[in-house]
């Protein structure tokens, strides 16, 4: 469903992603790990369509279409969802109003009827239970004054209402206590489906005990330097990235032509 080829991305003339390849098939969960500043959020934001990031090379195919040609809202309507690393506070727009506008935009795009108030509320209530979110957060302005954990849960709540095809979770686990982590993971797991893919960005293997990935990728300095199964996450947890970076460096030297 998602095929990224040789993706190069710059911001303000700094190249952040330097030839990234990744393929996600329906039903798969891919985890992306990597040191700070390696470009994980950049990838997430590029997928969602943030235009501050300039794609200088490469392509992204989503369900047979050129994702890079689409505006952010079209991507969302086509089924891309990004749970932000830092969810934005929007004073004056209530969480419900926002979700209703979003859901109706998505439904309209899919040729479905807009939900009436009663059905919308029923859906929202059901999904709130799933992430054990306090109902008072519905009527508050989006994320305003939410605790860190509430913001992350709110992202998963939005995801569960919008039912995307490909969900990108950017460090949704960071800063969550173990109970909140379990709730978020349950939310994700209950959405796992044959036709839905996940890209889970995380620093902690712990999350992957709950959301068991099919693949783990390691992003270092704008490239995926290693891919493997879920055991790769354990290895990283034990050894850190230093080990990988050192290994890569030696590979690079040994690969260098003699006399160069």
């Amino acid at each position: 469903m998602l095929k990224i080829q040789n993706l190069h991305v710059s911001i303000e003339d700094n190249e952040i992603l330097k030839g990234l390849d990744l393929e996600v098939k329906p039903g798969e969960v891919h985890a992306i790990m990597g040191p700070n500043g390696s470009g994980k959020s950049t990838l997430a934001q590029v997928l969602a369509g943030r235009d501050e990031y300039e794609v200088t090379e490469g392509s992204i195919d989503f369900q047979g279409e050129d994702l890079l040609e689409m505006d952010p809202e079209i991507r969302a309507c086509e089924g891309i969802f990004l749970a932000f690393q830092y969810p934005v506070e929007i004073p004056g727009v209530s969480n419900t109003y926002f979700l209703k506008a979003a859901l109706n935009a998505v439904r309209k795009h899919r040729g479905e009827n807009e939900l009436d108030a009663v059905d919308f509320l029923r859906l929202v209530r059901e999904r709130m239970k799933m992430v054990e979110m306090d109902e008072t957060l519905l009527n508050r302005p989006v994320n305003e004054g939410f605790s860190g954990g509430e913001k992350k849960r709110n992202e998963i709540f939005h995801m569960s209402v919008l039912e995307p095809k490909l969900a990108v979770l950017d460090e949704t686990d960071s800063g969550l206590d173990i109970d909140a982590l379990r709730i978020v993971a349950n939310g994700v797991n209950s959405l796992r489906a044959e036709d839905r893919g996940f890209l889970v960005i995380t620093h902690y293997q712990r999350l992957l005990d709950y959301i068991v990935p099919d693949f783990v990728h390691v992003l270092v300095d704008g490239r995926i330097v290693r891919s493997g199964g879920k055991e790769l996450a354990h290895e990283l947890e034990d050894k850190g990235y230093g080990w990988l970076e050192a290994e890569l460096a030696s590979e690079a030297t040994s690969a260098a032509p003699v006399g160069a």
Partner: protein, 441 residues
């Protein structure tokens, strides 16, 4: 300020000598009109050298020849339909003259007087004579002097003590059809002790390049509750230079909402004098400008007595090349201990060509007070726009939602439902993809 009256300003002085001009004045202030005329002759129009007029140029007003309407232009009720609130009592003024045929003053409680100020003065209404000119001193400012010298008529509202007026009263001021006509509506509102009244002062226009310079004196007696709305809905080629003076006695509760959408050059001076203990005064405002509109709100809040609260929240949304000025002074007098005063001005610039001058000021002569003030000028938050878009909301709708959200606390503070609904509808129609905003909120 002692600018020599320029040649064109003489046309304003000539208007004073125009035959048929109204000359009625309050008995306690004989020679009031002549003195105001002389004061204007002395002051002339303010220039950019005057501190209070640094960012608002009234040169075009000084240079333009306007015609002083000695009688109202012909206007039908149909023409006024877009601006009328049918559920309210209504006094209509065209070119500054009361028009009984367009007004609807039924169903007001006994003793409540609403209508023509000139008629009230001529009929010897004691309240009108006693209060008129007591609050807005013409020596302070050229436009007050001009209004005092030249007004023909205006609204008079008197609510006797302990009387509750359930039906809101709309005071509708129309710049009549025609070109470059000027009017100086003079309004006097007196709410007696523990009286309660809701007023909607609307300014609209049917003529081109009109000039309207209203002065509204509002006196709230002890414990009176006054909810005052001021709607600026004139044509964008109109010039509007206004003063509202709120005089608040002990425990009075006065709130005003100034909604400014119309007019090309608009200046609103607001003086609120909290002259008794325990006054609660709320001054809210919203201005939406575009094109070359220029809106200047100058606020003076005088805390004269202890234990008074004043809350000011003015917000502006500026598009295209429009300009706004906000100047807010909170002045706490030595006696006014336990003052709680808060002033906020926030501006949203939707275009890089739009501009705002905002200047909140505190002058505090008492030591046990709580005063805060702040002003902001900003653009739409790009992160917020992207966040909304990334959930499926189109760019225009995302921006409109955020603009609406910005205006929202002013909208929510409007107690009068029909005015609030009107404002919401206006915002939905003004904002791109407003339909989506309407459905979302």
């Amino acid at each position: 300020m002692s600018n020599v009256v320029a040649a064109a300003e003489n046309s304003y002085l000539a208007a004073f000598d125009q035959p048929g001009r109204a000359t009625v004045e309050p008995t306690p202030r004989p020679g009031w009109r002549q003195a105001a005329r002389d004061r204007f002759a002395e002051l002339g129009f303010p220039t950019k050298r005057d501190e209070d007029w640094r960012f608002t140029n009234v040169g075009p007003v000084a240079r333009t020849e306007y015609e002083l309407a000695v009688a109202p232009a012909a206007v039908t009720l149909d023409q006024l339909e877009p601006w009328i609130y049918p559920e309210m009592a209504r006094a209509v003024f065209v070119d500054g003259h009361f028009v009984a045929g367009l007004s609807d003053l039924d169903g007001l409680p006994d003793g409540v007087r609403v209508g023509s100020l000139a008629a009230a003065l001529e009929g010897g209404d004691v309240t009108a004579h006693d209060h008129l000119g007591r609050y807005a001193p013409f020596d302070r400012q050229a436009f007050i002097a001009l209004n005092t010298a030249l007004f023909a008529d205006g609204a008079f509202v008197a609510v006797p003590a302990k009387t509750v007026v359930e039906r809101p009263i709309q005071l509708l001021f129309v710049a009549g059809p025609g070109e470059r006509r000027m009017a100086f509506p003079r309004n006097l509102i007196v709410a007696g002790e523990a009286a309660q009244v809701t007023l909607v002062e609307s300014y609209v226009g049917l003529g081109t390049e009109s000039l309207t310079c209203p002065v509204t004196e509002l006196a709230a007696d002890p414990a009176a509750v006054v909810d005052h709305y001021r709607l600026q809905q004139e044509r964008t080629d109109a010039t509007h230079i206004a003063l509202q003076h709120y005089h608040c006695e002990r425990a009075a509760n006065v709130s005003t909402h100034s909604l400014s959408f119309g007019g090309g050059l608009v200046r609103n001076d607001v003086w609120a004098v909290l002259d008794g203990e325990g006054v609660e005064c709320t001054l809210n405002g919203l201005y939406l400008t575009r094109g070359r509109q220029h809106v200047d709100n100058h606020m003076w809040v005088e805390h004269v007595k202890p234990n008074c609260n004043s809350y000011e929240l003015y917000k502006g949304i500026l598009e295209e090349q429009s300009r706004a000025v906000f100047n807010g002074l909170i002045h706490v007098h030595p006696e006014a201990q336990k003052t709680d005063a808060k002033q906020t001005n926030r501006n949203l610039l939707l275009s890089s060509d739009a501009g705002v001058h905002t200047n909140p000021q505190l002058v505090i002569h008492a030591d046990d007070v709580r005063c805060t003030h702040g002003s902001t000028v900003g653009q739409l938050d790009a992160d917020a726009v992207f966040y909304l878009r990334s959930r499926g909301i189109g760019e225009e709708a995302a921006k409109s939602l955020l603009i609406y959200a910005f205006a929202r606390d002013i909208v929510d503070r409007i107690r009068l439902e029909s005015v609030r609904t009107d404002l919401e509808e206006f915002l939905f129609s003004r904002l791109p993809k407003g339909e989506i905003v309407r459905q979302a909120v």
